[in-house]
Symmetry: D2
């Protein structure tokens, strides 16, 4: 394999002396080179200070003698994860490990608006989003040609209030069948039930409004009526409290009194696309740690 | 007088054919040169489309023959305003006229934080804010030396819940005595009563939060707890619904998970200053038309 | 016809008293309602003050009696333009008139990068860019499938230094054959000759750099080497002085020391797309007046 | 002492395995808690990859047994620095160590414009800039009252081409006498000679233009003439190549065709103040590593 294979470790722990030294020391002893690292200690966390770290190591070191010596004779990804897990436990830490050649499969849920869908597909094709788009799913057939032109499987599952439980069950089954690890709501104009969210992999939503300012429907009409001078978009993990999930990314654009709701919608659409793609990228690069209502993006 | 004297006209009217032509034609016939003009038609206004215009004319033309001919023999500011008022009435318009040499007096209300106060004073001194700062008023003596170093009268009127009606009455009396036409709340940490607002000239407030997201107290602590990625500030006219008055200007700055509430406060303070000064400037340059909850800033 | 048909007038003239009144009065007398207007007087222009105005009128009024009376019996677009042209001449003004149902045809020139091409096509399809994309032309076959998936004619005209004169001639012929009125260089990695520019309709280029900071090739590598903290993009009319044409739109994004040239390129690509589409839109909405090296965007 | 005393370590080294582990391990063994850390590896550096790290440790640990054991019986700041220096040498690293209670003295050089001077003083007073303003120095007496109102020593040293060598010598003597460690050029309208820069402590300059776009004089007039849509400011270390020193911070603001040079100057002044104060703060918080023409701001 030409491109080097890395593993990303995300760690969250109660703050304590020596954390950086012990985590970095673990990889040093195992002969695994750290190619990128960042950490943050939050003294304001409720209860007690919290420590967060993201470490990227080069897995090429697994084939060197130091790794075998440290990881017990057989230096594999599995033994690496087991050994790191033991360290994490001793620190009271939660962690996640992921190799960069273990490409995540994602599902994109849409309705009729093609803007965010094209944007995500093109960024994936250009190498900007490290994932495989396993399927596009919609409650309308409108965007089938878009998926087809990129040879991505497309599923149309119409939904009515009466059929929503059944339809959501089908969506979950499709996600399971395709081994989907992330669901991206790219202007999917349906409220998801708690049941769905409990059974689904992580879900990232783009809210076309600057949360928590304009929750609910038609935020640009709300923004116009309120005469705001900036509009924004918010990408967040979907949770059962609609529009209240942990925020991953936000941005704004300037508007004026001269713009009606349609013009604000147009300006907002550009912000939405940028914000959604940045959030999906941060998630796929394993940069996001969720801590209650907040995210730490390392 | 060296600098040319202009008059600014602000007009709001139901939309109708020929408005620009009739308004511009009025000044053309009177021999008054239009040095700046901008207008906006809002088709989304409730009820029916609304028209807004700001026109700046050079009053030097008042001494030319055309003016006398049109304005009835005696071309003065008063006869100009009377004639324009008649036109406005015929169009169903509301309007305001103000000469640039008629410098507005303002009062700045503060508590203990000097940042916004210094900012406003320095901008006024540099010619950026066309006004006279008639007085600085506070419920604390802390900032008296600041006002004194710029030779601006300073009044300290402490306030308790019991004395608030009496204190507000004194504030209104001071404003009246100094012919104050605009009150700027530059981090004045007191809620004003409806009684005060009804008796006062226009009041501009800076809300250290991105309205309507974080209303009420300690918005930066709210922003931290919610994990937002942007914080902002909003300058608005104070109305009896706290934090709900017409928005004049807003801006934001980017924050990260690494910033605690104090750091967010520091970043926010810079945004507050910029936003407040821009709003005060727009008001003083007679650019702001209030229409219900919205402003048109021409 | 359901959607109202408007005409946009762009005017540039030496400043003189009564311009707004005379221009607005012209349409008022002709019974044509002004639905949008903006103007600007630049006192800093070399030589003498210059006046610029954009006026949008509703052509529905052409069928009313007032129009016939004013425009000489036969109120048509042609007689309207003739009458307006006579007024413009009397004011020493240059002008352009264009009806909104007279949709401009554009050509998009690309090489291999699909990002800007997709962006322009999708915005055109969503109604954001009022034009018809008559052809996509490239010196490489790479993007033919993109054009095909949207059923847009695609021409591949390879070019070498030796064949450039001939290839440019073919490009000009294709533009003429398709009645192209605007050429958009959407990452067309070829320098155009003066001969081409003299024979071509207006050409808008996106420069992936914040002009005039980083001219020439590989601006993101220059930006990295210089350690800048912001990168930007500039959309401008192409002129014979490479990268020196009148600027239509610019924007920037923040970068850090942690970004290498590739990451800067990725961030820059988003800025490029936004800036190019805003510039093309401003041109198509007839908002741009070129005055020497500067543009006035009304 | 109530506030905890920290020490900031800045390290630059050739990249090599185990750097984070060895640096963090050093402090862990010495019983010094790391309260903040960030690092960056630049694979694009000329020659070979470079590693940069900023580590903030709590000096309270110096009085604990672990420190004495590790630092050789006598755990002092001096022995800590000696031990760290030995480690740095073994890694081929350069480093700097600074305790937060060792407050830097700075000199602010101005001419007549008070905006940046007030801004820096007020930020220092509010605790935002961890330094002592030892003196304000100008070639004009204009701003003496400003310095006096804050009880800061003010020196007026007029300068002509003929007296420049002598005047610069006096400036250097004043800086030495006041133990100045940073010189801030807050709109000091004089070009400094190489001789001065060689003898002076680090000098931060604010360039009122978006380097490298508009170098030299009157950048806002250049910006107007070129019709740019954004203007900016750049804070950089002064080097003998005027306006070519390593950039610390930059920002921009949007401008339009409607702004003349004066209005651009006003908008630019706000950007200048923000950018200069951010750069000075980053320097004082020991976040800036200079590497050739670039800075790494950790």
């Amino acid at each position: 394999m030409i491109a080097p294979t890395h593993a990303v470790f995300l760690v969250a722990a109660p703050d304590q002396p020596g954390l950086v030294a012990r985590l970095a020391g673990f990889f040093y002893e195992a002969g695994l080179n750290i190619v990128d690292a960042s950490n943050h200690t939050d003294p304001h966390a409720e209860g007690a200070a919290r420590f967060y770290m993201r470490i990227v190591v080069d897995l090429a070191g697994l084939s060197a003698p130091a790794a075998s010596a440290t990881l017990g004779g057989s230096a594999t990804r599995a033994s690496l994860e087991a050994a790191f897990g033991a360290l994490a436990t001793s620190l009271g830490a939660t962690y996640a490990m992921r190799a960069t050649d273990d490409v995540a499969k994602i599902a994109i849920l849409v309705t009729k608006d093609p803007a965010c869908l094209y944007d995500l597909i093109l960024r994936q094709r250009s190498g900007e989003l490290p994932c495989e788009i396993a399927l596009v799913l919609s409650n309308h057939p409108t965007l089938e040609p878009v998926a087809q032109s990129f040879r991505i499987p497309f599923y149309c599952l119409p939904v009515t209030p009466a059929t929503k439980p059944e339809q959501e069950k089908q969506v979950l089954e499709l996600c399971a069948k395709h081994h989907v690890e992330l669901v991206v709501l790219a202007r999917y104009m349906q409220v998801l039930t708690n049941g769905f969210l409990e059974g689904a992999p992580p879900v990232i939503n783009i809210h076309h409004g600057f949360l928590p300012a304009f929750q609910g429907a038609r935020p640009y009409h709300q923004a116009y009526a309120r005469g705001v001078k900036l509009i924004g978009a918010t990408a967040h993990y979907a949770t059962k409290d609609l529009d209240e999930g942990p925020i991953i990314e936000q941005d704004v654009a300037r508007v004026t009194h001269a713009m009606g709701p349609d013009e604000m919608t147009r300006v907002g659409r550009d912000v939405e696309r940028l914000v959604l793609s940045r959030a999906v990228r941060a998630h796929l690069e394993r940069r996001v740690i969720v801590e209650g209502l907040r995210t730490i993006v390392l």
